[in-house]
Symmetry: C2
Subunit: 125 residues, 2 copies
Amino acid sequence: MPRPSTTADVFSAIAEPRRRQIIDLLSRRRGVAVGTIVMLLGLPQPAVSKHLGVLRAVGIVSVSKQGQQRLYELNLEQLRPVYDWVKTFDQYWERQLDRIRAKAERRARELSSATGKTTRKKGTT
Amino acid sequence: MPRPSTTADVFSAIAEPRRRQIIDLLSRRRGVAVGTIVMLLGLPQPAVSKHLGVLRAVGIVSVSKQGQQRLYELNLEQLRPVYDWVKTFDQYWERQLDRIRAKAERRARELSSATGKTTRKKGTT
DNA sequence: TTGACATATTCCGTAAACGGAATATAATCC
DNA sequence: GGATTATATTCCGTTTACGGAATATGTCAA
């Protein structure tokens, strides 16, 4: 058994870069026609339709008919498993940010304490 | 061209449920031997080694030798693209939480204002 | 109906992914 | 050295993903 099929699992569905692009696009506008996506992303129409089909299958997007167009919009709550999983490591991300902050502060301190000393030549080890 | 290869793209790498399990496991302990993972997850050893290989290739985990064991540990910063991408929709998640909160509050209000009134029968529209 | 447009589906080919079994490598102990 | 343990790699088979081209469906308009 390979990876869970893209049409059944959110994580697999978003593994495709162009699908993430589509999601990004739909997160900014609502009710976007397929043709618009085709134009904006510069992909062949069947490709877009197929990707939308996958996203539809996992429930990430939903469609509505308007004349001969199909308007797609995001259904972000279907993306929540991903959000939740990543959120698990929040603690870590914050620690990382702290580390970066600390480093910046230390550098700032070093800089200020170096004020008045002779500037080291570049390349001097 | 199928999906970007699991060994090159973080999103593809984490599309595999068992790989996420391994990541979860490694997020709780550091320096875990392969055998431990095999035991804890109940997977065949070659499977684990292969999954670890994928995670290694994307940089999510790193190894160190200790005797004849290989100790794996997480390298979570490699997961940041996922975190960042999902974070994009933070606004949305918060809105969702607000909606849930609001609904709960409304329900609470309804409950308190219903105090003293006769209880509506279930199914009454 | 016919025709133009918007979108979906099908068919085909190629490239991987994953699992399983067997085997290889590498470190340790006798 | 040989045996044992821990881990990695290889080979094979099946399943699936994706892209592209062609085609089908569906909708409007005249």
